[in-house]
Symmetry: C2
């Protein structure tokens, strides 16, 4: 069993990682505060609920539990779903001192976390991420949001959960494509600040692809620890936390251009990271060999490494110009300075992008 | 010029109170940080905008300014308006480092503050309250929210502004009925924790009704100071801040039962305070004479002192049982222990309410 503590003063919380944790969570001392809530609302989707809702019901067998299932998919991470969940909670008389449980991937986690931030001006919530992507990324750090037709995650809040429960066993039921999408974010941690971890991933890629333990738990724990450290130092993304967006400025543009839900978030991020490396290589910051290594590791997990067919750099621009990272009118990108060290730059122009990516 | 500092660590902010402040704000040192934002979005309603938008445009003459007018009234303090304002900001490319300006009463302030809490996960905002109610209450302390058909202020956030600008001169254009509604909240401050202030109000009621200075500014400043002190000690309403809800449990039920917008919030609160006093009197906590004094001062401002015609205690119950203050299934009320000292109680039963208010 791996444990990571997210240090945020009064809002600190534990992340617990283990195979079959959903069956053993009641015995984990760090999670004892979870069983004190009297009313619990589980938010999930039909696919995940069919597999794991019985486990969660058992964890909360002593509590009054209500359940809300949202249809599957990023398309439902919007204000309409936000309103639906709030209405459901009010219709069922959920008080402010209830616990909301997010059981699912990033869509469920981001939406539930945002509802928890706003329902009666703030309700406790628990993250039980069931995809690799949400386990290593969105469930940790308190970024919650819904999408808007004009941009991803444009409406949301910084809101920390009471705890994060990561059962690595659930990944065996995850479609291969979704596991790969999560690996894009895992690889990102190596690229943005930990060259050693990147090498570890190159070495253990087969064990990881086969979901072998203890490597799988170790890998997830390492990502959570890295994210927890960054978030502890910069909760609301005034500086360093922005590094976690490596690949995301390009990636969000791809998702928005295709229409949310066409590509998985991690797939778009994989391409975004490749583009960041290609841009950095053209500036002479990273070696051609690094670009090859990054591409090889992404491809080992069958991730895309080039933009969708027909998407030109001009198609990226409208989305990148309204990105949340825009400051004083300048686009900001996260670029690798070397393999394992990313920095924030605001001097990338449309002209440079055209030169690097045209043709 | 009166100044009140709300002490909340990094989120501290000034409240500046003066007649004609909208013409002199640029010269106030405490407000200098406001003129550094490059992009400004003013949210207002047609009535207020017609009177004061030119002043605000002049304050931000150096900035890029966009304006959004929401129709008048509590009925528009809902998730649909929340979505509209977010869409307006995105369509106009407002970045995260913009300043939102709430120019109007509580509806505009609460809605804009909530949008500011969520737009790109948090944008700075400025409160320019133009009703007495919002000047002494909703603009101070960072409670923001929208209503839901099942309850008032059910979806929102704690979000502090950068500053609050209170121009007492604007009250001369406020309808008498709205001024009176604001007086209900002013009187509340005396009742919940400051018997001396209640006596001051009894003594100066004529000057106040005639909007005489310096009494008007002094009165508003005193309320802001009381609220600032309470909020500094208990920002997220874990305890003491709940006292500010004196009269609100009954009051919210009245507003919801009538349909939002029928009675003004302050009118419902006036009745709520009377009911709290009558309940406390039946418990022997306050003297019959105190009840008479409270009723007399409310009536001096032509405020209602009894529930709307036809509303029985049974009609209050569904709303009071889903009130945000409900904890562990028990309704919580703020009741006067004496005139000038309120406490939180959770032992009021439906039976007691029936006995006090039946017939």
């Amino acid at each position: 069993m791996e444990k990571v503590a997210v240090q945020l003063g009064q809002r600190s919380y534990p992340i617990v990682i283990a195979p079959e944790l959903l069956s053993s969570a009641l015995a984990v001392p760090e999670l004892s505060m979870l069983w004190r809530y009297k009313k619990v609302a589980i938010i999930s989707n039909p696919t995940v609920a069919a597999l794991y809702l019985p486990n969660i019901r058992q964890l909360f067998a002593q509590q009054q539990v209500i359940e809300f299932l949202l249809p599957d998919g990023e398309a439902y991470k919007n204000l309409q779903s936000f309103e639906q969940v709030n209405s459901f909670l009010l219709e069922n008389g959920m008080p402010r001192d209830a616990l909301l449980v997010a059981l699912g991937g990033g869509v469920i986690g981001d939406l539930t976390g945002f509802v928890a931030a706003c329902y009666q001006r703030g309700t406790a919530f628990l993250q039980i991420p069931t995809t690799l992507l949400s386990q290593v990324d969105s469930s940790v750090g308190g970024k919650t949001a819904v999408n808007h037709p004009l941009g991803k995650n444009m409406i949301g809040a910084f809101n920390q959960p009471q705890a994060v429960l990561i059962d690595t066993q659930v990944l065996s039921s995850l479609p291969k494509r979704e596991f790969a999408a999560g690996m894009a974010e895992v690889i990102k941690y190596g690229l943005l600040g930990d060259a050693e971890f990147f090498v570890w991933l190159e070495q253990h890629q087969l064990a990881i692809a086969e979901l072998q333990e203890p490597q799988l738990s170790q890998m997830i724990s390492h990502c959570c620890q890295m994210k927890a450290d960054i978030v502890s130092r910069d909760e609301t993304e005034q500086g360093e936390r922005a590094l976690l967006n490596l690949g995301h400025t390009f990636g969000h543009a791809i998702e928005a251009w295709l229409g949310y839900g066409e590509w998985l978030h991690g797939e778009a991020v994989a391409v975004g990271m490749m583009m960041a490396f290609e841009l950095a290589a053209s500036r002479g910051w990273v070696h051609a060999n690094d670009v090859i290594r990054v591409r090889a590791l992404l491809q080992a997990f069958a991730l895309p490494v080039a933009p969708p067919k027909g998407m030109q750099i001009a198609d990226f621009m409208p989305y990148m110009k309204t990105d949340k990272k825009v400051k004083d009118g300048r686009m900001r990108f996260i670029l690798p300075k070397t393999l394992g060290l990313a920095i924030i730059v605001d001097d990338v122009t449309e002209t440079e992008l055209q030169q690097v990516f045209a043709g």
